[in-house]
Amino acid sequence: MATDTRKRPIIATMIGDPAGVGPEVSAKAIATGEPQQLSRPILIGDTRAIEAAIAKSKLGIAIQPIRSIDEARFEERTVVVLDTGELHAGDYQTGEPSAAAGRAVVRWIRLADRLAEARAIDGWIMGPVDSTSLKLAGEIESIDDLQPPNTWMFRISGPLRVAPITEHIRIRDVPQTVTKEAVLNLIRLVDSTMRRWGIAAPRIGVAGLNPHAMFEEDKERIAPAVNEAKQAGINCRGPISPDSIFRMGLDGHFDAIVSMYHDQGQIALKSAAFEGACTIYLGLHFVRLSVPHGTAMDIAGQGRAQHLSMLAAMKTAALLAAGGGFLKEFR
């Protein structure tokens, strides 16, 4: 057991906005004891908020406060908390967005990224953040600013896993972003990242851009990219009709799907709506993942929040960081 411990990846969870349900779902997930079987978990965030969540839901776990990662002892029934200490009592109210919480969240995000860059941790999870808090803090203009540069979103919902070329852009701007280079680049990134995650020869489906994948962009840009990827030894197929490919993904035909724009994959992901959906950023050397739900300010601090998404995120991050593939269970 002791030797095992050292191999298990250190996965940090940034609790998200301390006024939302983030502290509660993080503490509840840790209290299940399941993340500890796969990883050495720590929480980053406001100690007071985590304490309150533990007390409210009578989780019966203790807190080990740390200043740096090497102080962490990972004992049973104990949650390791790294707090930067900038939030004081009264800086924010549970259930309400605030500039103070927004500023703290941005500091915690930067801290987590620094720790991961320095390989002090093997990956981290972003708990639910609040766009109003972040805007009040003047730190960001839109939630998109939180995405690290040169990364792509990889979304998971049950057996469906999708990486789109672009995120929040106008539909009229989409076709020009679908170039052979962009498609090939993303196929390669999905392939190499999934191999690192422990999927030996990932089966990648590539969506077309247009109905039935039978228009110019499909034939002259996507098809050549797929062919080049195949020649490079990547197990990929496409362009596949957008209205069939996600169904095929749900039926287990692919390990991942490269999609051409945001809504193409999102409509399928959200319609399928499995418990424990999450998003991972491609293009980083460490696992960085976020939970799909929001801060749910209306039920914050009441002990009523559901932690299954957070638990799935913690287990997924642990498995991927250790090269153990995806979580097999989903609902």
Binding site: S142, E167, H168, I169, R170, I171, R172, V174, P175, L209, N210, P211, H212, F215, E216, E217, P242, D243, S244, F246, R247, L250, Y261, H262, D263, Q264, Q266, I267, A268, L269, K270, S271, A272, A273
Partner: protein, 336 residues
Amino acid sequence: MASRRQARPIVISQGDPAGIGAEVILKAAATLSRGKRAPRLVVIGDIAAMRAAADRIGNVPEPIEWHPGEAIPSLTRRIAVMSIGKLSPSAYRPGKPSVEGGDAAYRYVVEAARMTMRGDARAMVTAPISKEWINRAGHRFPGHSELLAKLARTRLWRMMFVGTELRLALVTVHIGLARVPRALSIEKVFQTIMLLAAHLRERLDVRRPRIGVLGLNPHAGENGLFGDEEQRIIGPAIERARHARIAAFGPLAPDTAFGRVEGKFRFDAAVAMYHDQGLIALKTLDFDHAVNVTLGLPFVRTSPDHGTAFDIAGCNRASASSMIAAIDYAGRASAV
């Protein structure tokens, strides 16, 4: 009158004789014959081709030659086939489409439409054809809906898709994504909402249909942050529909629109701006039972949402579930 309406059959055009049309019709008939109220069906096609398919499959109602005016047999043992011409055997060899077969498929559709327009049939269902082979046979044929609209002298029509739970109409259909934003107009979106609402009221007896209208852009543009079609086109079209006393609402964020509240959609039917926006949701939720309906025609027309599947024709592997759903929907929509 009501009994006469009930007595009228649903006509089914056989589709391309080299495709899976005959197979899915016969399998659907076999399943429907075991149900409580088996519909009356007449296949418009070729008796020899239907018989050959029935022999291959086995355990399906026996195709018998039928002529207008004759009694329609009960589906339990037999299925009526009205032959239009007589195909040479090479034209119904599975998986081997031909000009002769393409020409026949076209004539089956035209005859089924005429019977329905005359009132001799209560609704029509079309089995899959091959556009390519109909065109090779010398007919101008962009698609079923276009042909039927022309025969019925209807200018305004839209495609609608129906799953077990989801119903949606499309503003644009088979155009590239690059052309979609320019193809949208207040008028087109408004017309789609109105045709869909009329269908729900008149054919499905939904008194006050709630119509959810999707946006075009991610998150419906987030107040103009990424795209203004919601503000310029879709919003005003919804307003117009509301002035016309239709309970339309939106523009909805396309990815969350199909989320359910307590197991139900927030609308009776949805309007999607482009093909994949609607069909990705439909096929994710409901891949096997989707039915295609043409809105705006003076009669009910449905079809299964698959193609001729020449590659598996004659292999007895085709699923009839979409054809069953298409016949079932045609019956329900023509009962009111």
